[in-house]
Amino acid sequence: MLSQNKTISEKLNSQCMFVYFSQLMDKPVIDSQGELVGRLYDIIVKPTEVYPASANLIIRKGFPNRKYAVVSWHDILERDEKEIRLKIDKPKIVFSERHDNKEELTLRRDILDQQVVDTYNHKVIRVNDIHMLAVDHSLMIAHVDISLRGLVRRLGLEKIVDFIVGLINKNADYLVTEHLISWKHIQPLSINPVSMSIKINVPQKQFSNIPSADLGDIFLDLNTQHQFALFKSLDLKTKSRIFMNIDFKAQKSLIEELETREVVEILNNIASDEATDFLEKLPRDTTEKFLNLMESKQSKKLSQLLGYSSDSAGGLMTAEYLAFPKDTTVESVLNQIKERAFKVEPAQFVYIVDEYNHLIGSTNFRRLFLANPQEPIQNASFPKAYSVHLNSSVKEVAYLMDKYKYYAIPVVDENGVLQGIVTVDDVLSQVISIAWRRLKKIKVQPKQ
């Protein structure tokens, strides 16, 4: 008996702690005299915190000539299941025709029923309900609800449907599992109409935790307007990561919206093989325009790479690699590796060249760590250096990689001068597409 009481009181307690926004929406708002002011329409939250807290409520009255009033959250006396009672009198509340202040984040306009990015599951989702936590008087957004039950609750059919499902199966997935996603993983996508960008409230950490390929997929799931607004709001590093991981069609529609300066900035900042992949599909004169505006070092590298056919080693290679003169000491090589900033993580290989940049050997990080720091790197080299020519085919490259278990293979010109490296991911994507074309059974799934 006692334990039963306890669970009931716990239940009551938890009900008071948490409330769904749909349970508040359209609740009557009563003034201090007990007179009806209107109905709760929306809640404005302070977006500065990790879990935004309620700041104001918007009351709506009248039909069809709707009027809205904004009241501070502090003016609420108390709130229960039936109604919301205010401390102030009705005459003090000023109603007007409009309520949208575009700068603010509001639940009904910006979050409920809208698409948001779930940075934990790496998906674009639609919010069915908002789960709020009551913390001394104010409400905080705790989770968003994306479940079917959330939809049913919004339709006002929760009790009936719960009952019917309960009759069939008491432990149905529908009743037991909650599809709540913590607010800290949610990035709203409401667009500020003035700056046409999305306000990123929590530092962009969330986006940096998402693997690049998933980030690209999320981006492609958005509609073009949101794509552009989100892109504009991100930092250069995230922008570059997205740009490298979307298909050409999306890249092209993006650069049409961006200023040339921004495009050049991104092109300067992405791996050279990704940049050439993109540039070689553009019209000649556009490519030239970008190359002329880019940092001279990068543009030189790119215009060279652009000269090779796209399915040869020259077309696949990147100019991002580590090469050192043969008599550099191991210690100094290791120090330079630590200090250098990379646009992409290079394969763990270090190449050894002579004074004319002829490839004479290669080694990997492991060998360098184990070697005597004072010795020249030549002594830490693999017994034999394998390389491919600029015009070697993809198959040849793939064959060598498979045979010697390399993650990257150096590319040399006819004089043996090191030109770049082909990494396993670029070869893999080529080989996979060849294999898919061959195996008609597997359907190639193009990105949208």
């Binding site: 069915n128 939809l151 339709l155 509609n223 073009t224 949101h226 529609s253």
Partner: protein, 413 residues
Amino acid sequence: MRVKLRRFWRNTLIFLAVMGPGIITANVDNDAGGITTYSVAGAHFGYSLIWSFIPIIIALVIIQEMCSRMAVVTGKGLADLIREEFGVRVTFYAMTVLIFSNIFNTISEFAGIAASSELFGVSKYIVVPLCAFFVWWLIVKGTYKSVEKVFLLACIFYVCYIISGFLTKPNWNEVLKSSVNPKFQFNKAYLLMLMGVIGTTIAPWMQFYQQASVVEKNIKLKNYKYSKLDVIVGAFIVNIVAIFIVIVCADTLFKNGIRIETAKDAALALKPLAGRYCFYLFAFGLLNASVFSACILPLSTAYSVCEGMGWEVGVNRRFRQAPQFYILYSAIIIIGAVVILLPRVKLIPIMLLSQATNGLLLPFVLIFMLLLVNNKRLMGKYTNSKTYNLFAILTVVGMIGLSIALFFTLFIK
């Protein structure tokens, strides 16, 4: 001169790239139900209803242009926008009605397939399952681009009706006279037919489909004028085809005083009057139109519903990623095909139900569209202008009045 010519080619190329959604949506309009309505109109009233296609073209352009514009400006589908602006309750009920209305429509498309298969002397128990499988396979295995090409090809086959129109050697003078100088008749049968003709041209699923496919095509704002042209061209093509169907039936059946109930009756009656070729063309046109619409209706329904409810959408996703989409899509096709193959199923009540659900939904969809397209927050400077709004409101009020009237006559009859 050279610059001009080059610009002309450039513009033509852009138009060819942008075109599709408007033309396809408009053409699906001439589905099995549409062909039946136009045949009956021609057979029973001769040329006297042809004038109505002029206001229909205008109404069609005005309504579909708004969808197209909303798609280009917001980049969202109509179901998306309704969910985001009017909340989940409204969306849910609208989608429920849409599902029912499109199931009935799909059944009548499969009825068209069954009817045309019998015209060619093949059993419907072979053709209907085959077509159902083809339709399902096309979407599940195709991409948006390849599917659009198949659809545009289907649009070309509508030429059948135009050729059969010429085969009956109509009196063009009379056609022109009756379309410019309408002979309005004030009797119940004529008014009902008029309502039927207009009502079949603008259906709620069209707005959802058109907007979704413009979004999918990712058309840029700067190319919007081509998208507008796409809508206009589509509206003209579809109505020209419809006029030819009316002409064929008016020239042969009306002149000989033959009464018909369905498109199948029309084709059969054409055989002795206009010859074998005309009969085959008419029957093939019916088959093409039915299969084409049977592709688009389930697809459009699944898209809109999943969009509105926030479920994963898309032909490019696998079953596990978008289960609701595939279940809905497949279920509508299966229901459509199975119902037609059931022995002793009555088609007339299904047609009436499809018209009734369409009529129930259309006013809401049109009002939502007007509210959305005039929403500054969504559309910025691309809201309707004052004059455009006047015409749009007139069209919408007219369409609503018509669909309410049609809705009630269904039950009074």
